[in-house]
Amino acid sequence: MGGYGDIQLLRDDGLRLDGRKLDESRPVTIQAGILPAADGSAMVTQGLNVAVAAVYGPMEAHPRKIQRQDRAVIDVRYNMAPFSTSDRIRPGFNRRSREISKVTAEALESVVLVERFPRSKIRVEIEILAAEAGTRCAGITAASVALADAGIPMRDMIVGVASGKIEDTVVLDLDKAEDNYGQADLPAGILPNTGEIAFLQMDGDLSPEEFDLAMEYNFKAAREIHEIMVEALKARYDGGDN
């Protein structure tokens, strides 16, 4: 994340290499209820990222040692498919997927009303089918829609968004080149209705001013993506009135 000085990531006209403005995110599409076997599911595409999330439960928590007498536990498994990147990824859990699973679970536990389901487990499976930077954000957005689709009570939905720094300039939603050759990355899980932050990570260095601007971009993107999430859920039940 130290940046690679001679690689140009901004054009002379101030736009980014793919023609986006500094505060413009990649196109996002969301579909809810795509997997019939799951209790809730969703697919999120963000640029070239494709994330699918499936929710099962609440079910009895097994093994019993993970049970909590007063609340449910959220068991998240984030996985990148071997074909999701140009270099084949070795199948199975690795350090990165464990970390992302953990932060995603903790973020979701902060919004799901887990106290309604004592001794239970809510299983969330996130599969990244295609990756182009920002998969944890696409994954958490997909998981959030899938939880709503499964009828799991939540006090808000989480939107995964990221900003970063390239060529000493703060930009919203880094693509692959910007992520690889940029100077910083700031993914966040934002609750769009309350404005709370459910998770926040930072890779690289940002000054306080740059951090503030990056978070401003993140909040802006969260509001935009939240509208798409709501539309996706409404579209699933199109034509209903009660």
Partner: protein
């Protein structure tokens, strides 16, 4: 579902969405109060009734309540009890003493084995979600024939219709015995054509149960039924 609606407000909300100010209103199911506002916690339709605002969820897991008539399948058998899958978060426990048969210790499997379905009632649910079932009661029995179909919990009222009108129509047209369990399982028994047609009707309920024109969709399907020899 349609009973008790004010009709004034029919809007779809998603978790976290503000429904309105808390002032003078009570918070019902599917909603919470936060900062003097009522917030939806589920995806569903807002309902206002008798000063209470709640959200009728479109999808929801089955939460057993005492007295529910349910259709369970045997998941595990012990010497003196059965564990039944009741389509909920936890398995239901059916002790030998609440079975309709005189069961000797160690012979539970002779009466009901793994995979068998049964019509039972929820005897009690404790605060830790432990569910005890009973099969003592009129009509409660092992279901040794027919088919069991799963439907979303939230569509059960639409499938039944007001005063069971839809359900009675399904029974009349298909000439099948149909029992709707509160846990989203429906037992159908009759001839093959009747069972097949009823399954299709329930599939329609799964797809369109939340829609306003569900009754007319069901009417259309009703006209498709032909009994053997009719054609």
């Amino acid at each position: 579902m349609s009973q008790g609606r004010s009709g004034a407000e029919q809007r779809l909300v998603t978790p976290g969405m503000a429904i309105g100010p808390l002032t003078g209103m009570r918070v019902g199911s599917g909603a919470i109060s936060h900062n003097n506002e009522i917030i939806a916690t589920k995806l569903g339709w807002v309902r206002e009734f008798n000063g209470t605002i709640s959200v009728d969820p479109i999808t929801s897991p089955y939460l057993p309540r005492s007295g529910d008539l349910i259709i369970g399948t045997v998941a595990e058998v012990r010497n003196n009890l059965w564990f039944m899958n009741i389509n909920g978060s936890f398995q239901g426990l059916l002790p030998m003493s609440l079975a309709p048969w005189k069961v000797e210790f160690g012979h539970a499997r002779q009466h009901m084995d793994i995979g068998d379905s049964a019509l039972a009632r929820v005897q009690e649910v404790d605060e830790c979600h432990n569910v005890v079932l009973t099969m003592k009661g009129v009509g409660l029995r092992r279901l040794s024939q027919g088919a069991v179909v799963e439907v979303p919990i939230n569509h059960l009222d639409r499938i039944r219709g007001e005063n069971n009108t839809n359900l009675d129509r399904l029974k009349d047209v298909s000439d099948c015995r149909i029992i709707v369990g509160e846990n989203g399982r429906v037992w159908i028994d009759g001839d093959d054509d009747g069972i097949s047609w009823t399954r299709q009707a329930l599939e329609i309920a799964k797809q369109h149960g939340h829609k306003a024109d569900f009754a007319s969709i069901l009417n259309k399907h009703e006209k498709t039924f032909t009994k053997k020899g009719d054609a």
